[in-house]
Symmetry: C2
Subunit: 112 residues, 2 copies
Amino acid sequence: MKVFNYQTVNPEGVEGGASKVNVRRLITKDMGAKNFAMRLFEIETGGYSPLHTHAWEHEVFILEGEGVVFDGEKATSFKADDVVFVPSEERHQFRNTGRKQLKFLCLIPNEK
Amino acid sequence: MKVFNYQTVNPEGVEGGASKVNVRRLITKDMGAKNFAMRLFEIETGGYSPLHTHAWEHEVFILEGEGVVFDGEKATSFKADDVVFVPSEERHQFRNTGRKQLKFLCLIPNEK
């Protein structure tokens, strides 16, 4: 088994319609996790992930900060200790609307 | 999509070799999460999960507190902000060795 602090995994910038977003790929297929991947996202104040749709679901836990998840029409607020489930094929965008960094875990299935 | 505080999901006691452990089943197959499940565990001081082995992996993020993960021979310490990956078929037990509640997310694949 492996035990490590999340900060030992370097953040990577996120492109493709994102602003002020980093991702740390904490648990990966390369590590032997064949079914799903754990990533930690950090979004600075005013930043956002792309507004997009895809076949894979998101299982999200908000660690710090606050923001909204936008579905193209409606924005739903969240804050630390909230859970967000985005089903397959639902449009979504995460936005940091708070004054400090937004930090959340986002898990996705691995491609078969 | 769904957004909710984790505390809105009631804790259930855990039996079968566990002591002082509750689980909140945050994201489930019933909710439409077909690939994997998000659960939040709370272990009181001195409590532990069963020492056991199974085919499914664990992807864990420590939210609060501290403890060790024991593999039957060796105990490895962890604390808040640590990631623990337990591969398929590796023996493991989570123990709260701290003075306050241990709280962590533990995600597992759903049965096909």
